[in-house]
Amino acid sequence: MDLVLQLLFTGIGIGAVYALVALGFVLIFRATNVVNFAQGEFSMVAAYLMVVCVELGLPYWLSFVIALAGMALLGVIFNLGVYYPLRHRTYLPVIIATIGASILLSNSVLAIYGPQPQVLQGWFETPGIQLGPVYLDSQYLLIIGVTILLVLFNFWFFEKTLLGKKLQATSQDKEMASLLGISVSTMIMITFIYSAVLGGLAGILVAPVLFVSIQMGSTIALKAFAATIIGGFGDVAGAIVGGLALGVIETFGAAYISVPYKDGFAFLVLIAFLVFRPQGIFGERVAEKA
């Protein structure tokens, strides 16, 4: 039982990272009808920004702020450079452009920083606390705490603010949104900035747990992508639930079945969903057509 609780804690911690990246996937998908294959690279770039700032001797909190600001800027550049020129085309050129951007980002970091994985310290001095039978790693606690705050913020922002409603309207019918005077290009810009920051946050939070490497983005992104499908593609709650579920499943799979196959469990679950419930946990709650 103690082991189960311990694994559950770790699983939710790693799942929260998948959930944040998955949320970024879903928000961009809903706004632009395109899967952003560079979403994982947002996490990787942010983690490297963090490593650079910390190595320069900046305080941890300042490095954190700079890295997130850098991600907001990357969101702007990404939107203007990758999405905006192709916005009137079909989804295919845009998807290919995001793949191109992902290759560009990872190879740029490789060229600047080299192939050696880097180590990023955690935020806290204390490694963790013992709570009864369960050892709570401080970095996982941070990840879970930040994710809870972000999910609450996300709900408030999209459900309670007029700007959130405008973003939803834009994702549901761009032409109608523009007829009402909603600036569609501004809404999409906000979406890219928000998604880049979400992805960056996930990367910074998970960096002390994993190594900071060129490949970390694609690993996280694949899991997050699987999470969005498991949750129900395009569904915000689905992305979060799917991410958490995936983290728990792969942690338990690694502990009870096989460690080398850890990454495989996520994709086994993905395949099972694609075969038996392709609409995901939350399915299509909003009918396609009014």
């Binding site: 405008k166 309207a169 549901q172 019918d173 009402l180 009014a290």
Partner: protein, 242 residues
């Protein structure tokens, strides 16, 4: 000076010329109805006015200013609100949220918009009970009410209504047209209809479009007197519409 004046408007979709030199004028305070069969260019005319379709040539003047080539976001800020074909109510937002977003062309605070949206239910009492229902759960008539209410939230000087009666039961059509005759007290309306009888019943002036050209224009009485119209739109003809 008319509020809206369209001169020799040509709109092309690729090779197809949807409008081939349309000229109409809408005076302040009028209801003007644009009649015509499917594919005559009625919706395209509205789409060109609201900025969704780019004119190939010709001009669109609103209140003395050319708006041809402006984007839809800029045009609705000038005071032209377009309620498009198919209602286009946001399916994942509630009725109230849909209506509130109609004010996106104006700079007003969220609480003010919320009050205005509540007041809008006085004009549309039938949808008041559905205020918190999601768009996709509504019936066709309810969707039309929401679409018109949302269009009015822009406080337009000119309201473009595209086929408000399409697909609705006769009793609902009458409710929609009662609302149009109420709206006309404050707002100029350019109405597109296949239902000539209803369309002309509220109009000060009518135009008939045929394959991208205006073939007739005049007061409703004059149009009723025209045998071609009677033949084409009031029965006994392949193009007739119930």
């Amino acid at each position: 000076m008319p509020l809206l004046e369209i001169r020799n408007l040509v709109v092309r979709y690729g090779e197809i010329e949807a409008l081939r030199g349309v000229t109409i004028a809408v005076e302040q305070g009028q209801v003007v109805t644009l009649l015509g069969a499917n594919g005559a260019g009625k919706s395209t005319t509205l789409r060109a006015i609201s900025g969704l379709a780019k004119p190939a040539s010709g001009d669109i003047m609103f209140d003395g200013q050319s708006i041809a080539g402006l984007g839809p976001e800029a045009i609705v800020r000038l005071g032209i609100s377009h309620v498009p074909e198919g209602r286009r109510v946001f399916p994942g937002l509630t009725v109230k949220e849909n209506i509130m977003l109609g004010a996106s062309n104006r700079k007003v605070g969220a609480s003010q918009i919320s009050r205005e949206a509540d007041a809008m239910f006085d004009l549309f009492p039938d949808i008041r009970a559905f205020s918190n229902a999601l768009g996709w759960t509504l019936s066709g008539g309810q969707l039309q009410m929401v679409a018109v209410a949302r269009g009015l939230m822009a406080k337009p000087r000119l309201l473009l209504l595209d086929e408000p009666s399409l697909g609705l039961a006769p009793v609902i059509v009458q409710a929609v047209f009662r609302i149009i005759s109420q709206i006309r007290k404050d707002t100029t309306v350019l109405l597109v209809e296949q239902n000539a009888r209803m369309g002309l019943s509220v109009a000060d002036h009518g135009f008939v479009l045929e394959t991208g050209r205006i073939v007739l224009g005049g007061k409703p009485d004059e149009l009723w007197g025209n045998e071609a119209i009677a033949a084409a739109y009031l029965g006994g003809h392949a193009k007739s519409h119930a």
